[in-house]
Amino acid sequence: MPRIPAPPLPKALQPKPKKPGESNGVATSPAPIEAGVTVVDWLDERTSLSPGLRWLLWRKVPRGINWAYTLGSATLFAFLSQAVTGVFLAMYYRPDASGGAYESVRNINDNVFLGQFVHAMHKWGASVMIILIFLHMGRVFFYGAYKYPRELTWVIGVVLLILTLAMGFTGYLLPFDQRAYWASVVGININAGGPFIGPFLSNFLLGGADFGATTLSRFYAIHMLLIPGAMAALIGAHLYLVTKLGISAPPWLKTEPHDGGDHELEQAEV
């Protein structure tokens, strides 16, 4: 197994040579930096996490990468933003179809400190995430980055896209205003248009034959527990594959004659 290169230490962190005349060998109070090192060492001795972190964070990336390569990270941050704002919205939201849901969202918007802001972050962030996913997908497609050996990364990415759209669908009902209600009714009926299993799928979503008392809580549970859990797991798998297989070079990069050295790879932090 090849040795993983140690990260280059910034200048500020490199140990300075001792000045002439400085006391030698006498223990002084440990500098704060040493305390940090001690803590990290303590953790690392028990978990051996640092090789994994180095493997994940200090990777070699091909020459010629550009800003389009950051769209995946951007999507990840959009997901994290949705997760954080969603968790805190859940503290005020009430999935009560007999008016409580609408009232709780109105309360978030009108009364809760920064409520409208956090709600808007979640609402607009959802659209941003969808847009970023499609841009990321377009980058991967047009750069040919889905090809061998990265097909599975692509497949997991497509599943993540579908799950994200399902998040949008289930989240749309939650404000429970007229638009939310009728958009969901139309969406559920579009589901029912699939032959044979369509009606059963719609029944599952509705929790019965018609829009009922449990439909809203069903959408809420799917929106904040079922799909996010699956997405978090799949994002982990996606990132593992990205790290394991490395980032593909841009398609316009010419292959250079191989002379034994690996000078095609530059050390870079991504």
Binding site: A97, S98, G99, F176, Y181, W182, V185, V186, I188, N189, I190, A192, G193, P195, F196, G198, P199, F200, S202, N203, F204, L206, G207, G208, A209, D210, F211, G212, A213, T214
Partner: protein, 226 residues
Amino acid sequence: MPDPRRETKSKYTLDRDMPGAFEGETVTRRRLMNLAANGAGAVAAMAFTLPALGFAIAPIFKRQQWTWQPVGHPSDFTDTDYVTKVITITAGIGEAGNTIAYVRKRDPKIDTEPGDQYNQFVALSDRCMHLGCPVRYVQAAQRFICPCHGGVYDFRGMVAGGPPVRPLDRFYTRLNKTTGLVELGPRFSVNDELQRFAPRFPGEPIDGIGQYLYPAQFDTASPPPH
């Protein structure tokens, strides 16, 4: 000829000189322990997965109650115009559980489907049969018009234009002899000949092969015996 260095092992533990082996034993203790531990794990996982799954999909199989809701006196309804009535299809969730029925008296001159005790009053659901938006009745045009995608239905609820795939759903109606009130029962779907079918979702045609492509749901109330 088998490789002399790899002797094929006997399936009997006794032949393999295992400590404690007895006559006729073929499953080693290690293997038995493996099976038992993995089997117990599988049983334990099923013990919470299956009930949770059933819990989640149970509504698909639940049958609804057959209920009647009074909507007015027979004299409230004419055979030339619809009266808008709000009825409850899901109790306990307020406005979200209500729906609108357009009710009129049956007119044998235009209602050519055979009459029985359940259609002396014609009650149409306001769900558009395209994607389920609420249609509005316009008396001047004698048409039902859907605001979403332009579905249009004639006075009898038959499709007059636009994307809907079948006539408007209907409700069973009856005249309650004891109270003298008109009552609405469950919703049912109709095909282009106005034959009754168990309720289907909007967007599901039930003419010809459609009734098999979109099977009736387990959770729909069954029609009353005739």
